[in-house]
Symmetry: C2
Subunit: 207 residues, 2 copies
């Protein structure tokens, strides 16, 4: 049994916040939601997420980027890149995303998250809590990501210096039914504006 | 070596958000901060925290309660109550508190957090990130907590049905230098108003 599927907590009683979700949405003029950016390393997930955070913030909305690299310095610093650790990594950030969305924020979660079942788990966590969840596939081909190689990781992976590297020595499950696919290569602003339109269209934010 | 002190993540590069902390504070009219409520089970930590969340929200500030019981249903559902698991429990919620404070929110973290060294770790995580952290000791005597016993846990602990129960079969380190001690028993509103005044006085929120 994997660590993440075992439930050890007992004698725990759920406590509800005194501030209702409706009241929070009313005051924030937005609905809490998780936008889950998935895609290969170098696909541009974080670039689009940070740009979108900027666009939302300047329009007066409350947004925050949870980023794979950043979270691994803190919350998940005790996890590596084995299949089990990747699963626990995504489970934890999925739960943290849920807390942010519950707090009324639009959280932009940017994680390779290569396995369909892990992304499905995160979606289920949100649906169970009645919170909006949108999977955004940053659909940049492997060849382009490898050509960019902004962190010199593909080169290391090809030389065998990094194990379990997504796209090279570890699989990436292409999203089956993402709410959005971003195929615009090279123009992050165009992608960010597409997502922004989507948020207006789906009543997450209002003009 | 405990799980929380081992660092396995490699090939990780820190990415900064494009939205500066200053800009966020400007737009939110508040400083991100973590208020860490510590004390025995039944001391009234969550009651005060939820009340304060309500008071802050209705004044237009952005606040959110992270609660031991709530978090254990999700993020920390794979942790129990052994010393190691308690340490990892507090480490994780400390890191999550930091993320919320970095996002510009006032996070009200309500956890028994019995060990001084764990609370010190959470403080250090915030100080390293340049974020405000305030330890609030909800100083209700054991006898009062046990008399209240709202979840019937002390009775179970006395009968030996719960192991490692703080105050009964597991120690509670009294905070040495908390920013605030709340000794008002029975009147949560009084305690919440004390904290509110503290936040005004220390420029976390502005009238």
């Amino acid at each position: 049994m994997s660590e993440s599927s075992s439930v050890k907590s007992t004698n725990v009683i759920w406590q509800n916040s005194r501030v209702s979700r409706e009241r929070r949405e009313d005051l924030f003029n937005q609905r809490g939601a998780t936008l889950w950016f998935t895609g290969l390393s170098g696909a541009g997930k974080s670039t689009v997420a940070f740009l979108l955070e900027h666009l939302l913030t300047e329009r007066g909305f409350k947004a925050y980027v949870l980023d794979g690299d950043n979270v691994r310095h803190g919350l998940n610093s005790n996890l590596g890149f084995s299949d089990n650790d990747r699963e626990e990594n995504i489970r934890r950030v999925g739960e943290v995303s849920k807390l942010f969305a519950d707090a009324g924020l639009i959280v932009l979660s940017s994680f390779i998250s290569p396995f369909q079942k892990d992304r499905q788990l995160v979606r289920a966590i949100h649906e169970k809590a009645g919170l909006a969840f949108m999977e955004i596939f940053v659909d940049t081909p492997l060849s382009v990501c490898e050509e960019r190689d902004p962190k010199n990781l593909y080169a290391k992976a090809r030389r065998g210096e990094i194990r379990d590297f997504t796209g090279i020595s570890s699989p990436y499950d292409v999203p089956e039914n993402p709410e959005l696919s971003l195929q615009t290569q090279g123009e992050p602003l165009e992608s960010a504006m597409l997502v922004l339109d989507y948020l207006y269209d789906h009543d997450i934010i209002r003009a």
